[in-house]
């Protein structure tokens, strides 16, 4: 069955993005804009992780390390060397990419797959987090507070709307990358690797090369997100860019929406991002809210994996099939 090669979904994406981009023109409340930005940020993380986990089946638990490396690199370069975060962002991204390539290559070279790969990436991320927490040059466990910068050319804006457009732009880029990878031969290779790597290799798919490629692309993108986080929230700390928290975000959003699909991460995290925010309206203290939110996410993650592994997109596909059968049955006779 030949898949459609039209660019229609891509055009739809652009139109949707343009539509979404007009939101700041109507919404002037800083609070709502911040909510939208944080949701988009979460969506961005999920899309990046989806590339590696959903499409290629690599259980990478180190993406939060790349996030943190992006955030810390651009911030430290700005604070200590006055390098604009617009440039520092790429330095961080290249650093992350190099580490991702190195890690994946080592895992390929020593045939670390599946379960082992998850463990090694988890250990890697843990080591990075510990490294930063004990390294005074990056302020260790105190975190770095970004001072009020002045200018747009230092990746700082007084208003919220430019941040909104930046993160929206990043999301569109990531979705576009995913879209074009998915419909190209690379996408087929990645899916083959996910389904059965040995069989794919037997058919001639150079799995190592493409695993390294997808990890590199994903690390690069997620690093850019790290810099965005630093520049928007103005405070980075091993707890919010290097810990397991962002990884749970990625897992919940991607699994809930549907791993391995284009819109899965978007739908999944849009739902939970707003749910997260709604939870904070409950009349309990903020620490409790944060903790309860996290507990809820953990429970949701487990529930989804047990009951709905294909996520909301999978559910929607199943429903559409059922509806189609129903309509055919009723219209045919």
């Amino acid at each position: 069955m030949r898949e459609s090669r039209s660019l229609r979904p891509f055009y739809c994406l652009i139109c949707a993005a343009l539509a979404v981009a007009t939101v700041p023109l109507f919404v002037s409340s800083d609070y709502f804009l911040t909510v939208f930005i944080s949701v988009l940020y979460g969506v961005y993380l999920c899309i990046c992780w989806n590339l590696v986990f959903g499409y290629t089946g690599l259980f990478s638990l180190c993406h939060q390390a790349f996030l943190g490396i992006g955030a810390y690199t651009s911030t430290v370069l700005y604070l200590n060397h006055k390098l604009s975060p617009w440039l520092g962002m790429f330095v961080g991204a290249f650093l992350s990419t190099a580490l991702a390539v190195g890690l994946t290559f080592v895992c390929y070279r020593y045939r670390v797959k599946g379960l082992f790969f998850g463990i090694v990436t988890l250990a890697f991320a843990f080591v990075i987090q510990n490294l930063v927490m004990s390294w005074d040059y990056v302020h260790a466990a105190v975190g770095i507070s970004l001072v009020q910068m002045d200018a747009p050319w230092d990746y700082y804006f007084m208003e919220r709307s430019p941040y909104y457009w930046i993160i929206l732009f990043l999301v569109v880029i990531a979705l576009a990358v995913t879209f074009f990878i998915e419909r190209s031969y690379i996408g087929y290779y990645l899916k083959a690797i996910r389904e059965d790597e040995d069989a794919a290799e037997a058919l001639g798919v150079p799995s190592s090369r493409y695993k390294i490629l997808v990890m590199a692309v994903s690390a690069f993108l997620i690093s850019l997100g790290g810099t965005f986080y630093a520049q928007f929230y103005m405070y980075i700390h091993p707890e919010n860019v290097l810990s397991f928290g962002p990884m749970v975000t990625m897992q919940v959003g991607t699994m809930a929406g549907g791993a391995g699909t284009l819109l899965g991460p978007v739908i999944g995290w849009t739902f939970f991002g707003f749910f997260d925010e709604a939870l904070s309206w409950l009349p309990i203290g903020s620490l409790s809210t944060a903790t309860i939110t996290r507990i809820t996410y953990g429970v949701i993650l487990m529930t989804i994996v047990i009951f709905l592994p294909t996520g909301m997109v999978g559910l929607a596909k199943r429903l559409s099939v059922i509806l189609r059968i129903r309509s055919r049955r009723y219209s045919g006779e």
């Binding site: 986990f53 089946g57 259980f59 638990l61 080592v106 020593y110 045939r111 670390v112 599946g114 379960l115 082992f116 998850g118 463990i119 090694v120 988890l122 250990a123 843990f126 080591v127 510990n130 004990s134 397991f244 749970v248 897992q251 699994m255 409790s288 903790t291 309860i292 996290r294 507990i295 996410y297 953990g298 429970v299 993650l301 487990m302 994996v305 047990i306 009951f307 592994p309």
Partner: protein, 306 residues
């Protein structure tokens, strides 16, 4: 000099060794004691892995639960952590069985990533429930023997660790007796080796799984109690513990209890010696390096069953 063996006395390693011989001896002794305790944690982990092929990422958090249980009982009722073991065992067995029923059983047939995500979710939930109940700060429990030590030669043996190591030995011995001298233990081993054939001879796989998970959780809980007198406990202790257990299991071989003991000792000694000579932070790097080395050399472990 031993004939044929290269003369290493001039190398940097030898120099460091000779300068720090006392530190190294101290490190080895502490390492053996800690290694036995790690072996306890790793045994539970490897048993769950061997019997039902499940990587329980939340195992470190089971240990952490044991620590907090010991802490609460100690603070509320003045119970010594070793006495709390009596309470912790049934609590953790029930908890383990419940976790198995709710979370692990439904995903038994599914691909490996499902089981990994589910246990990771459990890790996250337990960690945050503990934060919710106890807050995020670290806790310690002081006992009369927390700072006591026996001097033996040039080496100081911490009494708390000594007691802990002895308790580990007792529990591991009990586990050995259970697995090799009882009928049900034989059933457990059979399931670890050949689940289908075990079912074929009429062993109730479900009962075995429940028990294995419960026992694994209980051993983790006991380890948590043992460690409480000399360790600081905080909610984030789960991931480092489970990573250590994973390294030990990779060193010792999946599903192998003797392997867990061996691996535990290796990691314990390596960690202690590097802590003594360099720094505790460096010890983490060393453990990670052992992981890499094992994956390069023999991923199935030293005592692997192939």
């Amino acid at each position: 000099m031993v004939r044929g063996f290269p003369d290493l006395s001039g190398t940097p390693a030898a120099r460091i060794a000779m300068q720090n011989i006392e530190l190294i001896l101290q490190g080895i002794c502490t390492g053996i004691m800690m290694g036995l305790i790690y072996a306890l944690i790793a045994s539970g982990f490897t048993m769950i892995l061997g019997v039902m092929n499940v990587v329980n990422f939340a195992h470190g958090n089971f240990v952490m639960m044991g620590m907090y249980l010991a802490y609460s009982l100690g603070v509320r009722f003045g119970l010594d952590p070793f006495a709390s073991i009596v309470v912790v065992i049934p609590v953790m067995i029930i908890f383990g069985a419940t976790v198995y029923f709710i979370i692990i059983k439904p995903i038994q047939g599914q691909p490996q990533y499902a089981q990994m995500i589910v246990t990771l979710g459990l890790l996250y939930v337990i960690e945050n429930v503990v934060i919710w109940i106890f807050g995020g700060e670290s806790r310690t429990l002081n006992t009369p023997y927390t700072t006591a030590a026996i001097a033996l030669g040039g080496v100081r043996l911490s009494v708390a660790r000594l007691l802990g190591a002895s308790a580990s030995l007792v529990v591991l011995g009990g586990l050995f007796l259970f697995l090799y001298k009882t009928d049900f233990g034989r059933a457990v081993r059979a399931c670890a080796n050949e689940p289908e054939s075990a079912q074929g001879v009429g062993i109730n796989l479900n009962k075995v799984f429940y028990t294995a998970f419960g026992i694994g959780a209980a051993m983790a809980g006991i380890a948590g109690c043992i460690v409480m007198p000399f360790q600081v406990c905080n909610p984030t202790a789960g991931i480092p513990a489970v990573l250590k257990a994973t390294v030990i299991v990779i060193v010792g071989g999946f599903g192998s209890i003797p392997g867990a003991l061996f691996g535990g000792l290796v990691i314990g000694i390596a960690e202690s010696v590097t802590s003594a000579i360099w720094s505790p932070a460096f010890a983490n790097v060393v453990v990670f390096s052992v992981l890499i080395l094992m994956l390069l050399w023999k991923p199935s472990g030293v005592f692997s069953r192939g």
